[in-house]
Symmetry: D2
Subunit: 186 residues, 4 copies
């Protein structure tokens, strides 16, 4: 029941999951983000929290990013990217938002596990994190963690790896200088 | 117990409260907002919700506004304004944020009821909504509504009146054209 | 351009709108809320902010209430009520949530302006605030305020009037004692 | 610049950080959470997002948990626990909240990096994640990631490991049955 055992389980699963992410897909995502005028994210529950953490970091990197529903959310246009986080690819709200974004001709990135989801027809890029979904497909990691924890953890780490790739693509050399973009009131 | 009676009570109190707001203070607030590079707001509970509604409208009017704690909150500078909503002027968190903003030489507007609060030394402008606070001062409206409802209602209406004043100051003639600034994904 | 003129406009429109709300509908809403095990709310933008203010007050009154998407959102059941705020009754996300809630046999209250919306088939109760929508129907108040401000203001006031009605229905005599239910950390 | 290199860096740092967390401290935290009537969390920025993810999971496990500032935040009492996430232990807002919670005699857990912070006098338990802070202490991991990413990642993983420990302590055998506690509207 101790911390050691649980921590080792988490580290082992995360390594497995991060190693299985396709590098090309991650790199394509980075290029699409750097080419966009604005980045929007959508998701539900803990997935949305991880997407918001990514949005926060993108803003530190000088990329205009926001989540759908924010108080200062601007209108989306064909020069923007919407990133949808959804393991199963079947969450109703993100799917509906995705369809609307497609009408405005925004580019769509879906980060998920299920590659045969209802989101497929609307995606410009699918980045796969092969965690177990409730659908129990063959090529997934069968996580022993609670609910979709492994997907959410992988999503955070993928975002943080992507943030470092973006810093390089944008040739930001002094990472410590980024603190000047950081909120300073709390 | 019916709707009629309660609705009449609310309308009567709101009229009293809005009529007692000093027009000059409201107009000064509008000028300070229009002169700022960025607007930040802070508050707690239902007061914060009303401040967020104001932030949303300011963005529609082309003013860069955000709340303290937002995922894309930028750094505050001496060219910005912080608006603090606090009836009593004694809420700990807003007071601390106010002090930090002052260090960065931002302008401070306090919208509150109590004119002798701990926030006083940090304010560049105090806009008074004379609702009852827990302090029971003499020159306040003794509201019969639950808790600070009257303050929160007045705050929303003050913000919406200010929004119209800002639209005029910025010579935005076609208010319907503002919909193009509006979020379009939900 | 001054505060006086704008404030009078707001007060006039609010009075008109609140007076036109059907008292029976408001009273039915109060009964449904008091009979529910849990209350959920959904909406977008400023409407959601007003719904959250209502949720906050319901919790002070001892009613278990939350918004869809909250970190501690429980599962909805047939003993619960979902309140949807949407002027036009056509917002995609609230409409989808409404359909899901209906599948779980929850009761549905819609507070809106347009009485012929796509939400109609799912509603157990429609509470009408007759403000102008983008649809320009005949029996609406043509507001001179920015966007849907009048609907949002009326929504807040309706919620606050309903809160007082609920306090009476639940025979809460000492309204000041409610402060002990109030968050005490900020 | 590729994904492989960045992903390996993240995995290496996370393993280092998670391995250095003191198991006893983590286990004490689990006991304190299980013994509490309610759990509150506070933090700022990305740290708060990770704390919210923990709150969400605690609720799935049947533990009443919320974040400071939530719309349905109850009053804190001496039977509750406040968990403060702050690497440096110097963030003004969490520090102020901590002091107030102490006045109500709630138990305080601080998860941070700096063990000589201003939060020290108020803590009942300090759980250390030894990541680099801006203070550059000797016994810290010097992360190559952007800003405090390593602290935030470790916080999420610590919370998820703790969630599994709590499930065991509460003898929840069928983890899949937890889905019935999960929000079902989105």
């Amino acid at each position: 029941m101790g911390y050691q055992e649980k921590k080792d389980l988490v580290l082992r699963e995360i390594k497995q999951s991060m190693d299985m992410i396709n590098a090309e897909e991650a790199e394509k995502m980075v290029h699409m983000i750097c080419a966009a005028e604005q980045v929007f994210v959508v998701g539900v529950g803990r997935v949305l929290l991880m997407m918001k953490a990514f949005v926060k970091r993108l803003n530190h990197l000088g990329i205009s990013a926001n989540y759908v529903g924010a108080v200062n959310e601007p209108a989306i246009t064909e020069r923007d990217v919407l990133i949808v986080g959804s393991g199963s690819g079947e969450s109703v709200v993100p799917l509906e938002i995705m369809k609307i974004a497609k009408c405005y001709q925004a580019k769509i990135i879906h980060i998920g596990s299920n590659q045969h989801s209802s989101m497929r027809p609307y995606e410009d890029l699918f980045v796969r994190i092969p965690c177990s979904t409730k659908l129990h497909q063959e090529d997934e990691i069968e996580s022993e963690q609670i609910m979709s924890s492994l997907f959410e953890q992988s999503l955070l780490l993928l975002g943080d790896a992507a943030a470092m790739m973006i810093a390089e693509e944008k040739e930001i050399k002094d990472i410590h200088a980024l603190w000047k973009m950081h909120a300073n009131l709390e």
